[in-house]
Amino acid sequence: MNVTLHIARRELAALFVSPTGYLVIGVFAFITSAFFLLTLQPGSAAEMRNVYTIVVWLLVFLAPAISMRSVAEELSSGTIELLLTAPVSDTQIIVGKWLGALGFYAAMLATLLLHILVLTLFAEPDFGPIVTGLLGLLLIGGLYLAIGVFISTLTDSQLVAFLLTTLVTGLLAIGVFLLAGWNALPLWLRDTLFYLNITDHFSDFAKGLIDATNLIYFLSTTALFLFLGVLLLGSRRWR
């Protein structure tokens, strides 16, 4: 466990000194703040739901930008050789990489606390949906980053990792929803596709609901991709 945290810490530090890291946080803070200000009208509800919706869409691009470097950079620079020849397990490496990325993402989400502070200063917002919404965002991010770390293990090109991950996150955010509406597909497939749709699972969180099925959806898919990442890294060892 300790080694996992050391890897996570290095990952987090590397993200914080990288230009990509700053760019991601900058873009995130700029767009969410602009949206927050635009929707902050006299008489409108003191809620974060609109901002959260925008965050869900932003994550399709920003989460892959955070996770793309995780393993791909080690593969291209050769540092993977130092990592894999240390007495460290594949699980420790993948989970450490993911935790580091998740920490960075949490710091990015923390910029939203400023908006919440503004709301509490000028109105009396309902904290229920605000907190569950944040939890939902954290879960979506966790899933996207797990997908991203997995894909980053596939390639030594960060660009390829970014594009492939965006493809998958884009599918989960909207693609499967569109596909589920396609009549030509068998019903069971349409149901499955509809179930995979992330926005649907998030909407309960945005309303202030923590539903076990949604929790299971996020936690199981995240665990699945982390597991796939561990397998893939292991297979690299054996190639």
């Binding site: 620079s77 050769g78 130092l82 990592l83 020849t85």
Partner: protein, 324 residues
């Protein structure tokens, strides 16, 4: 300390390593030589557990690399080819990170890092970002990293590649200091370096082990049968014909050199023809200013032996054209 037996590695259809085996005693410094693509890095990557062998096995400090990989890895300090480091980290920060991965406690890390920063000459740059370091300093960081957890075995893949002569000397001295304390396997292209530091030289070419001996013994083997240089006060044509009279000389050629003639004579087999030549020229009362064997370096041996290995492989390939 390091034993490898029948190590074989196929990359798809390419045979990179073909049944290489050796045993290295504790405290030895062993030079691992071979032309590019000979399989040096592949062999080292197998020993460090980065790559699995297709066949064969190896053990480090008694731990089998396949059955007991964590213990084997913990016993190794490894400097991969090209010294990959995290460019955004500071030198000291990076060493602490490596120490943590190796499971070292904080007091241990602080003590070792202080020692190694001194020993590897990293004092002036210990707080610098690795990205900003010179190639030489990066190499030192790589070495410090490998030595950090006081591993019994050090595997260094081209520790002097890309360094200038002064830096090479510094790294070589550093490695020489490790004698007796660590078992060192280092690969290199630069032969003089191995001649000076290594107790033993293992040469591989085309994925096969082609020589395994002390540098002195290998040099002796090259010296035998190497050409003899003669400089004498006579005409080149005369010197040539005189030399050809010596029964043990295969061929000779001479040219004039400012009033003197300089000839190179190739002996038959491994014969030492210097005494014969000296006697002959003395009998003819010709003034001689030099009779010497061409300086035998491992370099020549290396070229000879790797050529021989390449030829053997080509012949074998020609003999069994449909083997693939």
């Amino acid at each position: 300390m390091i034993t490898a037996s029948q190590l074989t590695k196929w990359y798809g259809p390419t045979l990179a390593l073909d049944g290489v085996g050796f045993a290295i005693e504790p405290g030895q410094i062993v030079g691992f030589l071979g032309p590019n693509g000979a399989g040096k890095s592949t062999a080292m990557r197998i020993l460090t557990g980065f790559l699995p062998p297709t066949a064969g096995t190896a053990s480090i400090n008694g731990h089998d690399i396949l059955n007991n990989p964590d213990d084997a890895r913990a016993a190794i300090g490894y400097l991969p080819e090209g010294t990959p480091l995290y460019p955004e980290m500071r030198v000291e920060e990076f060493l602490h990170f490596r120490g943590r991965l190796m499971g070292m406690t904080r007091p241990d890390r602080v003590r070792r890092i202080d020692t190694l920063v001194d020993r590897c000459g990293l004092q002036p740059v210990r707080r610098r970002v690795i990205r900003a370091l010179s190639k030489g300093n990066r190499q030192r960081v790589g070495l410090a990293q490998a030595l950090l957890h006081e591993p019994p075995v050090l595997i260094l893949d081209e520790p002097t590649a890309g360094l200038d002569p002064n830096q090479i000397t510094a790294v070589r001295d550093l490695i020489a200091e490790l004698r007796g304390k660590h078992t060192v396997l280092l690969s290199t292209h630069i032969l003089p370096e191995v001649e000076k530091t290594a107790d033993r030289v293992i040469i591989i070419a085309g994925g096969r082990l082609v020589a395994d001996d002390t540098p002195t013994e290998l040099r002796r083997q090259v010296a035998e049968g190497s050409r003899v240089i003669v400089e004498a006060k006579t005409e080149p044509a005369e010197l040539e014909s005189l030399l050809r009279q010596v029964p043990a000389i295969e061929s000779a050629s001479a040219q004039s050199l400012g009033g003197w003639s300089r000839a190179a004579a190739t002996p038959k087999g491994l014969a030492d023809v210097r005494a014969d030549i000296g006697k002959l020229l003395a009998d003819k009362q010709i003034t001689v200013r030099e009779i010497s064997r061409e300086s035998a370096s491992l370099e020549q041996f290396f070229v000879q032996i790797t050529d021989r290995a390449a030829r053997a492989r080509a012949e074998q390939a020609a003999a069994e054209p449909s083997a693939a």
